[in-house]
Amino acid sequence: MRISVTQERFESVIERAFTVVPSKTTMPILRTVYVECKNGELAVSATDLELMITIKTSADVAENGVSVIPAKRLYDLAKTLQKDVPVRLESEDESAVIITSGQGKFKISTEEPSYFPQLPMLPPEPILRLPHPRLKRIIEKTLFAVATDELRPVLSGVLFQMKNGMLRVVSTDGHKLVKWVDNQNKYEVPDFDWIIPKRALEVLSKMLDNNKDIPPVEIYLASQQLHFKLDQVTLSTRLIEGKFPLFDSVIPQNNPNILIAEVKPFLSAVKRVSVFSGALTKHIRIDLKSGEIVLSAEDTEGTGRGTEPLPVEYSGEQFTIGYNYSFLERILNQIDSTLVRFELSGPSGAGVIRPVEQVEGEDILMLLMPVRLN
């Protein structure tokens, strides 16, 4: 292997690959990156066995070859190499690589390439193509509701569901739920239910662009692995096995109590009142009555209390409902319109929350379960 590449490109590919290298692992080979040079390209791959990333960049390839290099050392070096000075990589023999930059010459021992996990082979045709901005928005709107504990593994990912050509994306942790529906496009693809791990989507989101004019992300399915192919990046992830809960059945259809509030004042009132909520419980109360809601919180030690009324539009019964303020804040943060609409059944049922004005092409619905108050 013998190549020359600009420092910026070299640093960029190593840095992005390094995001997938596990910080703790019992398998030393996973602490390496797989570097392959051929056909005028440098490709760097890394994996934690759940997720594999390959990033390509153009390079002057004098001699094709493969090298498996310890990731941390390579990353630390890449960050500190001189800017605007080409980087040269050359295999010294089968057990080391020499990296040269300006006057600097750095030798790193390498691993046997065959020990590195096999790189994925993509099927000839993708199942689905999604524009970068749409996929980025879907991830941004759904990732916050994914479960953070491992008690229910199916909830630790986001469901991408295709049914009769309609794409629905859903995530939930049991307390909150978000359903994003593409109401603009009819996809001519077979039905599928993919539960994609949260981490894969986090990594993918960083690789996506808001530019509408770049080619769409191609999504391939092969042997229970999903592959996202971007221009220079291929991200492969396992899918979470299991059946996602029947989310449609928990979405209330006719909640009679309707609250419409301005998002920004509501959110800032929640933030102020939540200062007085218990650190562990994170609970706040909301008293609902016509024309006004009153937010309040009191810590369990009784050392402080916060109360704030907020003018709103409200039609329905008077009652008090408790929420985990952290969940409520996250939900309100997802609302893009000026006004938010809450449809409530009572103090212990799921509330349906939507932006009053939906963004064109999508329909977002969120659910929030209240707290069982004492």
Binding site: G174, H175, L177, P245, F327, A350, M369
Partner: protein, 408 residues
């Protein structure tokens, strides 16, 4: 001194009194009640106290001290019934009653003198008399402006005593009580105070507040203020939920059989779930332990998918834990389960839990509890406890080792 009037009631040798209530012929027999598995003395009659038999004295030692005494196993369900009757008498007269233990309670009598047209001390005497007449046990009562003073006073004239702390007798009363007898000082802090020359409750009372703060911090200051008549800890009915609910017991016969060990664990689980349902508590963390013959433990714990009091969910989790920690070939002597309770009692509801069904299961648990309470333990039980041996029914003639004479 404020106008609060707080009563502290303490039943005299409660377990012994409850036994004598059921068995009047034991009225003058020196009597000690033993712990589970009959290992230790947990209560003794007044005849045995001067002999040096204390709570915690091993049975063998107590028997050697008092060979003529009668040692009987405890019957907690009986004591519970007597306790409920006793507190009901207080509740009939006072609206605010705080049950402190099975045989102790506080009641706030403030303002009741006007209502009943009786002085607070006459009310105390009325409560004492009614308990003796209606329940059949004697209690000692202290009346004062704070809980700390009232508790100190109830111990002053035991047994069957009544002492009212007034501004006039306060100093003499405190001078007659050792400092360690103050509730909250006890045998741990008492000796340290004595080293500093604080021998009596009056010595403590007369310390400068700054000194108390320096020596004992906020806890000491609260006690000092209570002794000075400032009600820091009011009588409260507020139910403080426990941090955990647990049940543990040794087997009557050691066993290496998984079905027997699991049945015991299921039996404990059923009892824990019954308490959760009865007290409106929910658990999210479970731990179990199996005690080996050599007294070492096998333990396992887990987090439940949501806070619950559902027997089916909890026993399924216990089954998983049991399979994790049960070791084949090991002989076990006991087992236990601990269900941790969220101290706040409130929790985030879950979208995918059928709370109506949870409520139905809770209702079923409650019905089983009530059936067993009405018709006797084990009237209805869960199938998975079937290998758990029925507790030996210690008929009273066996417990007391006395012949039975039936009237015709």
């Amino acid at each position: 001194m404020s106008q609060k009037m707080i009563l502290h009631l303490d039943a005299d040798s409660f377990y012994v009194a409850a036994e004598r209530l059921a068995h009047p012929h034991l009225q003058h027999v020196p009597l000690a009640v033993l712990s589970s598995l009959d290992a230790f003395v947990i209560a003794r009659s007044y005849e045995l106290k001067p002999l040096g038999i204390k709570v915690g004295t091993p049975k063998w030692e107590a028997q050697s001290i008092a060979p003529n005494a009668l040692f009987i196993p405890a019957d907690f369900s009986r004591y519970g019934k007597v306790s409920r009757q006793m507190f009901q008498v207080v509740r009939d007269l006072a609206p605010l009653v705080e049950e402190y233990s099975i045989d102790e309670a506080f009641a706030d009598l403030s303002g009741l003198d006007t209502y009943y047209q009786k002085s607070a001390s006459e009310l105390c005497q009325l409560i004492k008399d009614r308990i003796q007449q209606q329940v059949g046990v004697t209690v000692s009562v202290g009346l004062a402006s704070t809980k700390t003073l009232a508790k100190l006073a109830s111990e002053y004239r035991k047994p069957n005593g009544l002492f009212v702390v007034t501004e006039q007798n306060l100093h003499a009363f405190l001078a007659d009580r050792a400092v360690h007898e103050i509730w909250g000082i006890g045998d741990k802090r008492g000796p340290k105070l004595k080293e500093k020359g604080v021998e009596t409750a009056l010595d403590f009372y007369q310390l400068p507040l700054e000194t108390v703060m320096r020596w004992m911090g906020k806890h000491g200051v609260d006690l000092w203020l209570e002794l000075h008549g400032h009600c820091i800890s009011p009588v409260t009915e507020t139910y403080a939920p426990p941090k955990s609910v647990s049940r543990t017991a040794n087997f009557e016969l050691k066993s290496a059989r998984p079905e027997v060990v699991f049945a015991a664990l299921s039996h404990h689980t059923a009892k824990v779930v019954a308490i959760l349902v009865e007290d409106g508590l929910f658990t999210r963390h479970l731990s179990i332990f199996l005690r080996r013959k050599d007294f070492t433990f096998d333990v396992a714990s887990c987090k439940l998918p949501y806070p619950t009091q559902n027997y089916q969910v909890i026993v399924a989790a216990v089954r998983n834990l049991f399979e994790q920690c049960f070791q084949r070939g090991v002989v076990y002597r006991g087992s236990g389960i601990v269900a941790a309770i969220d101290p706040n009692g409130a929790f985030d509801l879950d979208l995918f839990v059928e709370y109506e069904r949870e409520q139905k299961v809770a209702n079923l648990t409650q019905a089983i509890t009530q059936l067993n309470r009405k018709y006797g333990k084990g009237t209805m039980k869960y199938l998975c406890t079937m290998h758990h041996p029925k507790p030996k029914v210690r008929k009273d003639e066996q417990r007391l080792a006395l012949p039975i004479v039936k009237a015709q």
